[in-house]
Structures are given as C-alpha cells and as structure tokens.
Amino acid sequence: MKKSAQIHSIETLGTRDGPGLRCVFFLSGCNFKCKFCQNRDTWSSKGSEKITLHAIYDRLLRLLPYLQKDGGGITVSGGEPSLQSDFVIELFKMAHGMKLTTALDTNGTCKPKFIKKLLAETDTVLLDVKASTLKLHKELTGGDLETVLNFGREAASGWVKRGTPKLVIRRVLLPGINDLKLEMDKLSEYALSLAKLPEIELIPYHRLGVHKWKEMKKKYPLPKLNPPTTRDWEKAAERLRAKGLVVYKG
C-alpha cells in the first residue's frame, strides 16, 4: 500500500475536470513527451514535493462542505497519475470513504496489473486520446496509441458491468494536425466500437503553457501553432456529431 506520492501542485477549485467542484491533484512524472504539453514542469518528479495520504485527508476534510455537493470530489491529473497507480488507488478509496467522487485524468498508460483495481475506484475517466493514427500519436507524444485505446476499452466495459467509471474522451485540438478528417474518422470509429458510448470533449489548444518551457530553458516544439478558430472547432465537432457522438467544448 502506497501512502505517499510525488506531487507537483494542488488546485482546490477545479470546475472543469468532472462534476461539481473538484480538488485537483497534479502528480509529478510523465512517460509521454507531448509537443504541446501545458505542464512541461510536471514531466520529471525529481525535486518535486512528497505528499502523504494523511495530509490529503486533512485537507479534504476541511474542503468537504465545498466538494460534497452535486457529485463533486477529487481529480488526479499530472503529469501522468497512473504512473503512481498504487497511490491513486488508495487515494480514491479514501475519497470514496469521504463521500467524494473520483476522476482520473490520464493518458491511458496505466500498468496492466493496476488497471482493474484503479478503474474499480474511479467514477470518471478523462482519457486523453491525443491522436488516432499510430504514427501521429507516436510523433506527438512519443507513446504507444494501442495501450491508450486499450485502457479506454477496459474503462468502457467496466462502465457497462458496474455502472462506473463513466468515460470521457478528451482531445486537445491542434489545428491542421490532429483535427483532420482521417483523425476524426478514426476517433469516432474507436468511440463507436466501445462497449458504451463515451462523451467527447474537444479542448481548443492554447499557448498558456508555453512560458513553462521557456522557464525550463527548453525549446517549445510547436513555436508557430495557433489556437483553433471557432470554425476549426465547429468543423471537427461536426465530423464527430455526424456519427452520433456527444461533443462538447473543454
């Protein structure tokens, strides 16, 4: 049983990562190297702070009056939280004990031996599918697409069997890169193939995280990329909606 984790930061007022108000824990360490990463400073867990379950319990206890309403709770994000799955499982169990809901914001690369246990304690999975073709996914993230998709399948089958976790697929929309027809077709194909239909959240790419690369003296790999226009976003969404998917803006 893992009782502590490497943590990057805590955001106590999350309004966009699951239902209600949420306390969001950004864990340190990531196995991807996304070119558009907004949290470049979470990649390495070196020098990050350690936080114990006990400390989180104290904090959550005080925030219960805010978080308990309308299905609010906690979200773990990162970095990649599933790298510390053994801790997240304990954290989620504890949260459930406090009548809080749990959400996992993940790139879907949880180690196979933890998948079942982790999903059993998760109420919402926010799964980032950053690209839907093998090559582009590899190029953008350095990670393997099939692992990601498999995690989504496991989540969806759990959703059918037990009623949780609810699955939301997230895509940060990089105009001209991962919003093209082929990408959208593949994404909807995947969503429709799942045991239960997930919602799709299309998050317009933004450049608010660029300064973090600079601060770390790293070159930002997409120096010229602009955020999608409203039309870009609508076009991508329409492609998915045409296939019968529920799409909203993140």
Binding site: S9, E11, T12, L13, G14, T15, P65
Partner: protein
C-alpha cells in the same frame, strides 16, 4: 397607535418599542424566484437620467459638484431640495440641491477649510470665526487631551485612520421607528426615559441627562424637517409610500447632522416589505409601483454625499458613505427573512444599473431559499456589487434583528452602538519589535525597553517575545487613545438624531482593528521556517531582509501558517481587554482595511516576508497577492478558519474571479458560486466580497474611464466605482489575486 395601522398584526410591538416583534408578527417570507419583478418605469428612468447627468458633471468637476460654504449642516439647516419635484416619489436631500455638499465644521474646522480649498471653494469667514473663537471643534478638543505618546503613534502611522477630525459614524439609528411609531410617541418615550435617569448627578448621569435632552431636540427638529417636505411625521406612516418616506427622512436627519465615516441604514428591507405587501394585498399598490418606490428610495441613497479632504480619499477611495442595507437572513425559529422586497432591492441593480451605494449586503445562510440564492449570485456575476456575510455566525450573537455597520460590523438594531476605532498597523508593530522600539522610516523611538535582537539571523523565539511586548504596549495606548476620542466626541459632536432613534440605555461596543494581517503572519512564518537575515542601515534599523529557504504562507490552507494567523487575532483582542474602556464598552476587533491597505503599505518599511518597502498590504484578512498556490478554496479556507469570536467586528475577505474559472457557462457559474458561498459559510467564514470580472476589462477601464462610468467593484467590504479610484488603487486591484482557470 396600533388602531391606525390597519392590516398589521398586533403584538408586543404595539405596547412598547419593539421592531423585532413587529417583524416577527408581520413578515411575509418569500421562497420563490425572481420572475415576479418589474422593470423600471418611464418615470424612474427619466429621474435616474437626470441624476446620471449630475454624476457626469460631478466627475468633471473633480469629484465634487458643489459645496454650500455658508451654512453649517444640521437637521434643519437647509430648506427643501429636489431633483425634479413633481416626478419624485420619495423626497428629501441633504441640502437644497442634489449632490451639493454641506459643511460640518464642528468636526474640525481646519479640515473643512482644507476640503473647501481643494475643490476651489472658500469656507465662510463667519463659520471659521464661530468654530475657532466661540465653539471648540471635536478635533481641537481631542488634540488638547492627547498625550505625547498618542500623538506619536498617530503621526507615525502606527495607529491610523482615527476619527479625531471627522465624525466617527458607524452608528445606525433605528430609522424604522419613525415610520412605525411617529414622532409624538417617540418624544413621549424619550421624556419618560429622561425621568428615569438616576438623579444622583454623577458625571455619567449628568451626561446622559444632557444627551437625552439633545435627542429630544433632534426629534423636534425632525418634525420641522418633515414639514419642510410637506409631511406630518408626528404620526405613524399609514401606507408603504409613507413608511419609506418617513424612514428615509429619519435617515436624512442623521446624514444632515453628521458626516460619519460610515452611515449605514440597517435592516429596512424586511420592514418596508410588510407595508408593501399589505398595500398590494389591499389593492392599493401594484408590483410595478412597489418597485418604483424601492427604486426611488435607492436613488435617494445614491445621492448621499459628505465633504471630505483629499487625504481622506487616500484612505477610503471612491467617495464612499457606506449606506449599508442588509438583505436576507434567517430567523432563530428557522423561517427565512427573505422577502420580495429583498429581491426588489437587488433588482435596483438591474433597473438603475450597478452602483456602490447603497451597500447591498446579503445575510447568508446555506439554508436561504434557493430562488433568492440564485438571484443574488446572478446579480453578483453581472454587477460585482454585492457582499455576503454569515448570518449563521451573527444571528446567535445579535438575534434576529440586526444591521451591518460600514462594511462588516454587526450591530443589533435599536439597542447597540459601536465606537469606531480605525486600526493598528500590525506590520509596523512587528518592525518596532525588530528595531528596539524604533519606527522603521524615521528611526524615532516609540516604545522604550524593547530588547535588541541577537545573532545574524532573526530568531523566532526572540522575535516572538519582542513582538508580544510591543503588541501589549500598543494595545494599551490604542485603548487609551480611543477613550479620549469618544469621550470628546460624545461631548462635542454628539449624534443626537441617531441616538434619538435608539434605546436610551445602550449596549456599547468599541471597535478596534488591525491592518497588515497577512504580511505579519507570513513574516512570522518566514522567521520560523526559513532563514531571515535583516539588512540594517548605519543606525541599525532594518531596511530589507534576505530570505533563504521556503516558508508556508497564509492562504494555502496550511495549518502552520493558519495557526499563527489564529493566534495573532486572539492575542490582540486579549491585550485590548486588559485596559478599561470608556462607558464600559466591550472591545471588538476587525480585520478590515477597506482601501487603506495601499496607503498603509506605502508608509511601511520592508517586512520579513519579502514584501518590499512601500508595497501595498493585502486588503482586510486577504492572503498576500501571488502567495496563494493552491487555488481559491484553499485561500478561502485559510480565511474562514480565523476565529470570529475573537474578531466580532468583522473579518473581511475580497474574492475576485474571472468568469471562466467559475464554470463554462452562466448556469454552471451560478451553481458553482452558490457552492462556494455555501462551503465558505459552512466553514465559518464571516464576510466575502465577490467580484466576477475580467482583468482585460479592468485594464481597459483604467485607460478609458469614460466608457465605464458605472463599473462597480467590491473592495474589502464596500463597493466603489472603479473609475473613481486612484491609479495606485486601480493597479493594486488588478494585481490582487485574480483566480484564473488553468
């Protein structure tokens, strides 16, 4: 008298002065939503348009439209004044013209002269002569009594903002009494009270006898004031229009007589509602007409002005008068006090547009009806003009009938007053502790026998001992200074109109305050958890601090910092309790700066938390800008942990958030704001200002003030027009933590 008011349920209030009982018997709690409300009528808009033109002119003339330099203000100093006589439903102005300011030289004639000069006027030589040769002013009297030490801590800005040259304010007359009972009854009751005063002719009984006679004169003056506007105030109000008119004239009498720093109006909404609903039920009033009355009354309150010298503006920016009105709340028996009229008052923000006055204050409980909560947060999101205070904390202390004085101060209606005491700059106190009792900017010795600190780095234990010593010394001087001010104030600048509408034997509070709160908490944490090395000048006075290592800061829900914050509040009030207080008043404490945090910061040297010399403090009990690392709820939680029982004059928190951080769409934003308020008040938070606005919009308003004449934002306990603030204040607000979405 009860026979004359048809349709009202009788009770104890018919036998004796008891407004709380009147409300118990007659309240119409409303649990619905805002759909019944009416928009503004043509007449309202036309009248408001005239006022807006006057506002524009006032702005153009540098903030003051006109001054009557010839007449000293008083209840009957001026004849009737109107905006547009035949189109006004509620009448009465402080002088003969709207926005024309009266002078009140009795507070301090030099300050009035200065204020007149600043705006290009000249105070009448006759008034100058009267108030220098024949009549001592409050200001002169206070300074003739002050000790050297008091003068020193005052002029060095350690204890500041003291009401020693203007009226103390903060007293709320129970203006409803005039409407419910009429002046004949009130005069009779005061005469009875006079007879009951002990005739042992002790100093206190002599004083009280004189005061009650002054009150009686004020009541008689109010009859004349009523006649000036064509009303017979000797009898109770007969209908809603009269009830509002009578109440307003009672308030006006007070605002004419006194230029108190805060002139709040108390719990009038639920009172008006009784009459409005009764008239609507009787078929003599429609919803539209009811709203019109509330709109017209609000316009009157938006015209209240006091003449201030420009220095005053540095402390309290934006020309405020704090006409605080309380809305909402619950009763001890579990009913809600929310009425349709509370909605009507909030609706004035729509009908007339947002404005800082009257200062709309919602007595919040998570148990308030959802319809009211929704409407309130909607108005917050749209106008940023509302503040919220914890009814569940205050009701057990004050009962069901109470008002808020100034920004955050609780006062029982009708039976309690407070002696206002501004605040002590705690950051300066800490620097006194580090500098052997010498003030950090002048090097002047203020407190003798503060031991010299040993060692290169600050030692937490030594600092704590010195700081405790300083606080104890200062608290004693602070109480004594306040005793002087209020003794003199009662004698030279007695608020007869307000006192006449209160019980004769009052429950008195003395309201002390602290500024620089989070600076001191963080400094103590830095000294304890990091290594802090003072950089001293050749006289050994700290000029700056070198900090090595991390330390916890207030505003992160970190118990190490938050426990220090708690201790600080408790120890200060404990020290205050050690010195006897004038008229056996009970000491209370506020953590409130309003906008004075900017000025206080300006005159305070560098502090061990890393704040540079001259940089602003955070307002009120707010954590310092940029040091909150864990988002909104952590910040709110740190503040909500401060013990209200030790700071019953109020703990002010200003919360600014950009709309997108509250949620993706309007509905989610409303729902989330309600959750935040429910959570904050459940956790025991006392007060919160809610600003929902964009930084971009504020920056634009700095450059183009003309585009935003009505842009109102809440600053530490009251609201102001953003464009009326100085550049420093505007920048400070933009710098102040904006909680942004990731």
């Amino acid at each position: 008298m009860s026979k004359k008011v048809k349709g009202l349920k009788k009770g104890r209030w018919t036998l004796r002065t008891d407004l709380q009982d009147f409300i118990y018997q007659n309240i119409n709690p409303y649990e619905g939503d805002a759909s019944f409300l009416s928009g503004p009528t043509k007449r309202t808009l036309a009248l408001w348009n005239k006022v807006e033109k006057l506002y524009a002119l006032e702005r153009k003339r540098g903030g003051v439209l006109d001054i009557d330099t010839e007449t000293a203000g008083g209840i009957i100093s001026h004849g009737a004044g109107y905006i547009d006589k035949k189109n006004e439903l509620i009448t009465g102005l402080q002088t003969d013209k709207p926005l024309k300011r009266a002078v009140k030289p009795i507070g301090g004639v030099r300050l009035v002269q200065k204020a007149c000069d600043a705006y290009g006027y000249k105070l009448s030589p006759k008034l100058v002569e009267v108030y220098t040769k024949f009549r001592k002013s409050h200001n002169d009297a206070v300074f003739s009594v002050y000790s050297e030490e008091m003068k020193k801590i005052r002029s060095l800005g350690i204890i500041t903002g003291l009401p020693d040259s203007y009226a103390r304010g903060r007293i709320i007359g129970d203006y409803r009494r005039l409407a419910l009972y009429g002046l004949n009854y009130l005069i009779k009751e005061k005469e009875k009270d006079f007879k009951k005063i002990d005739d042992n002719m002790s100093t206190m009984s002599i004083r009280l006898r004189e005061e009650v006679k002054d009150q009686l004169q004020a009541l008689k003056d109010m009859i004349v004031l009523g006649k000036t506007y064509g009303f017979d105030l000797t009898r109770p109000a007969k209908n809603a229009k009269e009830a509002i008119q009578w109440t307003y004239l009672a308030y006006l009498a007070a605002a004419k007589e006194s230029d108190g720093a805060a002139m709040s109006i108390g719990p009038i909404s639920v009172f008006f509602d009784v009459y409005l609903e009764r008239d609507i039920k009787a078929g003599i009033l429609t919803e539209e007409k009811a709203q019109e009355l509330v709109d017209d009354f609000t316009i009157k309150l938006r015209l209240i002005r006091q003449l201030r010298a420009p220095e005053y503006d540095l402390l309290f920016a934006g020309d405020p008068v704090w006409v605080t009105i309380v809305l909402g709340g619950m009763t001890s028996d579990g009913r809600t006090k929310v009425t349709k009229t509370d909605f009507r008052f909030l609706n004035t923000l729509k009908n007339l547009g947002p404005a800082p006055e009257p200062n709309l204050t919602i007595l919040y409980s998570p148990r308030l009806p959802i319809g009211f909560k929704k409407f309130a947060v909607e108005m917050s999101i749209n106008t940023s003009s509302i503040q919220y205070e914890n009814d569940d904390l205050m009701r057990p202390i004050a009962g069901d009938d109470y008002g808020i004085s100034c920004c955050v101060s609780l006062l029982k209606a009708g039976s309690q007053i407070q002696y206002f005491g501004a605040r002590c700059n705690l950051a300066k106190a800490l620097l006194l502790a580090l500098n052997e009792g010498r003030e950090e900017t002048s090097g002047e010795l203020v407190i003798p026998d503060v031991p010299k600190l040993r060692g290169e780095y600050l030692d937490a234990e030594q600092v704590r001992e010195n700081f405790n010593y300083v606080v104890s010394w200062l608290a004693k001087q602070y109480v004594k200074t306040m005793n002087v001010i209020h003794w003199v104030h009662d004698k030279y600048y007695y608020e007869a109109a307000q006192m006449a509408l209160l019980d004769t034997n009052l429950d008195r509070l003395m309201a002390f305050g602290i500024a620089g709160f989070s600076v001191v908490v963080d400094s103590l944490c830095a000294i304890r958890y990091a290594k802090v090395k003072p950089i001293r000048d050749k006289n050994g006075i700290t000029k700056d601090f070198e900090i090595k290592g991390d330390f916890p800061c207030f505003g992160n829900d970190d118990e190490r910092a938050d426990n220090r914050a708690r201790d600080l509040v408790i120890s200060f009030i404990t020290e205050l309790r050690k010195t006897p207080i004038y008229r056996r008043a009970n000491p209370t404490l506020s953590i409130l700066t309003i906008t004075s945090n900017v000025l206080y910061g300006k005159v305070t040297g560098a502090t061990p938390d890393g704040r540079k010399a001259g940089e602003p403090f955070a307002p009120g009990a707010n954590p310092m800008f940029g040091r909150e690392k864990n988002g909104v709820l952590a910040s709110l939680d740190s503040v909500s942990k401060l013990p209200y029982y030790a700071a019953q004059d109020g703990i002010s928190n200003t919360f600014s958030i950009v709309p997108s951080a509250l949620g993706v769409d309007k509905e989610t934003q409303k729902a989330n704001l309600i959750k935040i308020l429910d959570g904050y008040f459940t956790r025991g938070g006392h007060h919160i200002n809610v600003n929902v606005l964009d930084k971009v919009l504020l920056k634009d308003a700095m450059v183009h003030p003309e585009k935003y004449p009505q842009l109102t934002i809440r600053v530490s306990g009251y609201a102001v027009h953003f464009t009326k603030l100085s550049r420093d204040h505007q920048e400070e607000i933009i710098k102040r933590t904006f909680h942004e979405a990731l």
